[in-house]
Amino acid sequence: MPIISNVTCPVCGSLCDDIEILVENNKVVKVKNACGLGESKFLNYNGHRLRKPLIRKNGELVEASIKEAIRRSAEILADAAYPILYGWSNTSCEAIRVGLELAEEIGGVIDNTSTVCHGPSVLSIQDVGYSTCTLGQIRHRADLVIYWGSNPWSAHPRHIERYTAFTQGRFQASIWYRYLAHLSAYRARRRLLRALKLSSVREAPTIEAEAGLPPTLFRKERKMIVVDVRRTRTADIADYFLQVEPNKDYEVLEALRALIRDEEIDMDTVAGVPVETLEELADVMIGCKFGVLFFGVGLTMSMGKLRNIDTAICMVRDLNRYTKFIIMPMRGHFNVTGSNVVSTWQTGYPYAVDFSHGYPRYNPGETSVVDILARGESDASLIVASDPVAHFPKAAVENLVRNPVIVIDPEPTPTTLMADVVFPSSFVGIETEGTAYRMDHVPLPLKKIVEPPSGCLSDMEILQRILAEVRKIKRETAEVA
C-alpha cells in the first residue's frame, strides 16, 4: 500500500506540506498530520461531486460531451463584449496563468476572491508598504505573537503549531506547555459555568475587564495575544485576550499607534479597553525582540476596512524604529496568495485586472468584479472554483445569472446550479498537480495522489481547450469577414 508523504494540503493558506496519505485502490484511506479540515477534505472530497459536463438546454442543465461544452463556452466568451473571469483562489498557479491568457484574448476582466476578502489589505499595502517575512522567521524568532481579528484555531488549525507560538525555533522555544495550563483553566471555567447552570443560576458571571495585563506578558519567553470582538477558541489558549467592541478596531489601533509614538491619550477607555491596558500593551510591543501581528477578515471586513489595515501597517512600521516587527494577513483559500502573485507578474496588478483596452488596467471599485456586476456591465462570466452566487450581494448575483455563466468546479454549488455550462474538474492537490503559494508567499508543489474519475479534466486543461477554441472561432470569423 503506497504511503505518499510530503503532501501539501489544499485547504487553507497555511499550506501544510507534511501530510502523509495512505492510498488504496486509488482511494485515500488514511491521512496523517493534517488537521480536521485537511483530513476531511482528503477523505471526503470524492463523495459529492460533479462527474459530467452539463449544458443548459431549454432551461435545463443536461449532460453533454466535453467537446460540446468547450465549444459552447468558447462561443459565449468569444461573443461577449465584456466578460468576467472570477474565482482562482482554489486552483493552481498553472491554471491561473492560462486564465490570464484567456482573459487577455477575450478582452475580459479577471478578478480573484481577494476582491471580497483581503482586497483592502492589498490596497493598504499599495498605500504604505508593509514589513513582513516568511513564517519560519516567526517560528525561529518571534517572542510576541498577536492575532487580530482572526481565529486560526478554527480557520487555520495548524498555524499556531507549525509556525508560531507552539513551534520550536532556533531562538524561541514552543509555549505549548502554557497552552496546557490555559486549556485546563478553560475546562475548569466551562465546568464552573455548567455547574452554575445546573444550580439554576440564570446569569453567568461576566469576567470583569481588569485594567492592566497579566504579569506573564512581561517575561522574556514567547507570548501570544489575541485581539477580537468575541472570545474565540484561539483567545482561550492565548496568554492574553483583548476584547474590542465591534467595529472599534480602528480606534484601538490608532490609540496604540499614538502610544507607541509616545503621545498622550486624553481618555480613560478606548473601545471599551482601559487606556492603561493599551499603554502596557504598547510597552510589550516595543519591548519584544521580534513581534508579529497577524490579521484576518475580522479586521479587513469590519468597519473602516482600508483604514484599519493602513493603521495596523503604519503601527508595525513605526515599531521597527524600536525593534523588529512584522505584519501578515491570514489568507484563507489555499491559493488566494498565488492568484495575486501570478496576476501581478503577468499584468502588474494583483486582482481586478481589466483587459478590455488590450492592456491590463486596474482600478478596484471600477474594475473589480463585484462592482462590475453591481453596475450590470458584464455580459458573460467564467467562474473557476468559486461560488459567487452564494457569497456575492444579491444585486450582483442577479446581474451575474442574467447573462451566460460558465463554471469550472469539481463540486456542485449554488453557482453551478445557475450556470449555462458546467465543467466537472479534478481536485487540484489531490487529483492534479500544480503550484500554490502559502500566505507568506512561499511557493509549494501540490501533488497528484490519486487519479481523477474519467471525464474530469484539470482546470488548466479545460481552460487551455477553451482558449484554443476561442482562437479558432476568432480565426473563423476573421476568414468569413
Binding site: N6, T134, G136, P360
Partner: protein
C-alpha cells in the same frame, strides 16, 4: 563579411536554396547583449510590482498578434521584460537575487519571460548552513551544500548580499564593517566572503562569487569595498577573477556623512587597474523615478527612513531578507548627481573594459530601458557635459568627469555590454560571433564608418534603443525595433558533479532541514521539469 547561421549556432557557411539573408551592410553587428545583474523575476520583483500600480499606469504594452500585453515602467511585467530587452538587442539576462526558499517563484516568472536566455543567483551569504559550516572551517561540507543548492534551486552563481548583515537584520541589526561578528554565528563578513570564494573555486563555478558589499549606500563605504576585494586577493590563480563586486557605484562612496559625501571612484579604479582578480558592474544612476529593491533589508530600511516613502520588508527564514522602496533620482540633488558621476567615473577610470560592465542594477539605479542613454554617456563626452550643465552645481564642480576625456569605442562598448559579461559568467557560447557561438545577434542601424558617437550621441541612443534586428537562437525576433516573433529562452543553471562521498552529506542536510525550515526537504527542491527550457551547465568539483 558574412555571418552564417544554422540550427541556432554560428557556422562556417550555409548553402542551398531558401537561405534567409539579412543585409546588415552599413550597420553595426554585435553579439546579443548580456546583462549580468538585473532584477527581473521572483518574489522581490513581484512584491515591487504589486506595491506600485502607479508605476504601471502610464507605461503599457498593448497585446498584438505576436505579443502578450503588459506594463512597465521600472518593474515591468514578465512578458514586457522579455520584449523590451529583445528590442534593445539583449538576449541573455541574469536575475541576481533569488531567495533559495522561493526559487520556484523565480523560475515560474522566468518561464513567463519570453525570448531572452536567463538564470538566477541564489542568495547564500546569510544561509545558516553556510554560516555554520564556514564558522567551523568546514569548507568542503559548505561546498557540498552550495553544489546541492545550485541543483535544488536551479541556480547559476553564488550571490552574497551584505554578508552577515541580513542574518543580523532578522532581529533588526546589521553589520558595521567587514570584521564585525554576526550575532549567534561567530563569524565575520570577511570570513563569509573568503569562505564562499574558496567554495566557488572548489566547485569550478562558471561565474565568480557575486558580491553586494556590506554598508552599501552609506558614505565612506569605499573603504569596506576595497577591503572586500583585498580579502580574496590571494585566493586568485593567475589572471582569473575570483570576485565580482556588483553595482559598484553604490559601494564607492567617500565622506563621513551625507554632507561630506563624495566620490570614491578614483580609489576603487586605482585598485582595480592594479589587480586582475576582480570584475565590477556599474550600477549606473539615471535621473528618473524608479523602485529600489535588494536583498539588503537593513539598507532598504535606512532608505525608507531617509525618504519616508512606502516600504516593503520581506525576511526569508534561515536565508536572507528583502527590502523595497520607491525612489527618484534628481539631478538637482547633490548626492544623486554625485552618484551619477561615480558610476561613470568608475567605467571611465578603469582602463580595461573587460573589468567593468554596464548595468543599472535594474531597477535600483534606473530601469534597464535607459541603457542606450548610458551607452551615449560612455561614448560621448559631449553627452556627459550636457547632463552636467543641468545638474547640481556642487556635484558638478567636484565631479572628476570634467577631467576625463575618455570615450568608449564601439568595440569597448561591445565588451561592456556583452563580451565582458559573457566571459565573467563563463558563458562560452555567448558574447562573441565566432564559430560555434549561439546565434544571438544584435544589429544596430548605425554606420560606424560615418557616425561619430562623440557628436552624434542622439543617433547612438536611438539605434541602441531599437535594434534593427535581434536574432535569438538563429531566429529573427525583432525587426526595426518591433517583436516579430516570440520564442522561449533557456534557463541556465549549474549542475556540479561532486564525488560520491559528497552525497553522504544529503542525509545530514535532511536531518537538520526540519529544524530550520517550515517546508519539507522534498518540497524545497525545484525539479528540472519545472523550467520551461532547462539548460544545465556542467562542472566538475574538486571535492
Amino acid at each position: 563579411m558574412d555571418i552564417a547561421i544554422k540550427d541556432g549556432k554560428i557556422v562556417e557557411k550555409v548553402e542551398g536554396k531558401g537561405v534567409k539573408v539579412i543585409d546588415a551592410s552599413r550597420m553595426i553587428v554585435m553579439p546579443g547583449g548580456v546583462d549580468i545583474h538585473s532584477h527581473i523575476a521572483g518574489a522581490k520583483v513581484n512584491a515591487g510590482r504589486m506595491l506600485r500600480p502607479e508605476d504601471h499606469f502610464k507605461d503599457v504594452e498593448v497585446k498584438t498578434e505576436k505579443t502578450r500585453s503588459g506594463v512597465g515602467h521600472s518593474i515591468p511585467s514578465t512578458f514586457t521584460t522579455g520584449y523590451r530587452y529583445a528590442r534593445m538587442g539583449y538576449t541573455t539576462v541574469f536575475e541576481p537575487a533569488q531567495a533559495p526558499l522561493k526559487s520556484r517563484h523565480t523560475h515560474e516568472e522566468l518561464n513567463d519571460t519570453p525570448i531572452i536566455d536567463k538564470g538566477a543567483y541564489p542568495l547564500l551569504g546569510d544561509c545558516w548552513f553556510v554560516l555554520e559550516r564556514l564558522a567551523k572551517g568546514m569548507i568542503e561540507e559548505c561546498a557540498a551544500y552550495v553544489a546541492w543548492t545550485m541543483r535544488a534551486t536551479k541556480g547559476y552563481a553564488v550571490k552574497i548580499v551584505n554578508p552577515g548583515g541580513l542574518e543580523a537584520w532578522g532581529f533588526g541589526g546589521n553589520m558595521r564593517n567587514i570584521d564585525d561578528t554576526v550575532p549567534h554565528f561567530n563569524i565575520t563578513p570577511r570570513e563569509i566572503v573568503q569562505g564562499l570564494c574558496k567554495v566557488n573555486e572548489l566547485l569550478h563555478m562558471p561565474h565568480t562569487i557575486h558580491v553586494h558589499t556590506n554598508n552599501l549606500g552609506k558614505p565612506g563605504n569605499y573603504v569596506n569595498t576595497l577591503e572586500t576585494m583585498k580579502c580574496v586577493e590571494n585566493l586568485a590563480h593567475g589572471d582569473k577573477p575570483v570576485i565580482h563586486i556588483t553595482h559598484c557605484q553604490f559601494s564607492a562612496f567617500k565622506g563621513r556623512d551625507w554632507h561630506t559625501f563624495a566620490s570614491g571612484a578614483e580609489e576603487i579604479a586605482r585598485y582595480v587597474n592594479n589587480h586582475s582578480h576582480v570584475t565590477l558592474d556599474m550600477g549606473q544612476i539615471v535621473f528618473t523615478e524608479t523602485t529600489t529593491m535588494t536583498a539588503d533589508g537593513p539598507f532598504q530600511f535606512i532608505l525608507y527612513q531617509l525618504t519616508g516613502n512606502k516600504w516593503i520588508n520581506g525576511d526569508v527564514e534561515t536565508e536572507t531578507s528583502t527590502g523595497i522602496v520607491p525612489f527618484a533620482y534628481k539631478r538637482k540633488s547633490y548626492v544623486h548627481a554625485t552618484q551619477w558621476s561615480i558610476g561613470l567615473e568608475l567605467a571611465l577610470l578603469i582602463k580595461d573594459p573587460w573589468k567593468i560592465y554596464l548595468t543599472t542594477d535594474h531597477p535600483n539605479a534606473g530601469p534597464f530601458i535607459y541603457y542606450p542613454k548610458i551607452i551615449s554617456w560612455l561614448m560621448s563626452r559631449r553627452a556627459r557635459e550636457k547632463v552636467m550643465r543641468k545638474m547640481n552645481k556642487r556635484a558638478r564642480q567636484k565631479s572628476l568627469l570634467s577631467t576625463i576625456d575618455r570615450e568608449y569605442t564601439f568595440y569597448e562598448m561591445a565588451i561592456a555590454t556583452r563580451a565582458g559579461q559573457a566571459r565573467a559568467l563563463g558563458l562560452r557560447h555567448k558574447g562573441h560571433l565566432g564559430l560555434g557561438a549561439d546565434a544571438d545577434i544584435a544589429i544596430y542601424n548605425i554606420d560606424p564608418t560615418s557616425v561619430e558617437p562623440s557628436k552624434d550621441y542622439q543617433l547612438i541612443r536611438r539605434a541602441f534603443k531599437h535594434a534593427a534586428y535581434t536574432v535569438k537562437g538563429g531566429e529573427i525576433v525583432v525587426k526595426n525595433g518591433e517583436i516579430v516573433k516570440s520564442v522561449d529562452g533557456k534557463t541556465f543553471w549549474v549542475d556540479v558533479e561532486t564525488s560520491p562521498s559528497v552525497d553522504e552529506f544529503v542525509p545530514r542536510l535532511k536531518q537538520v532541514f526540519e529544524d530550520y525550515y517550515t517546508v519539507q526537504y522534498e518540497n524545497y527542491v525545484v525539479p528540472e521539469h519545472y523550467l520551461a527550457v532547462s539548460c544545465p551547465v556542467h562542472t566538475k568539483a574538486e571535492i
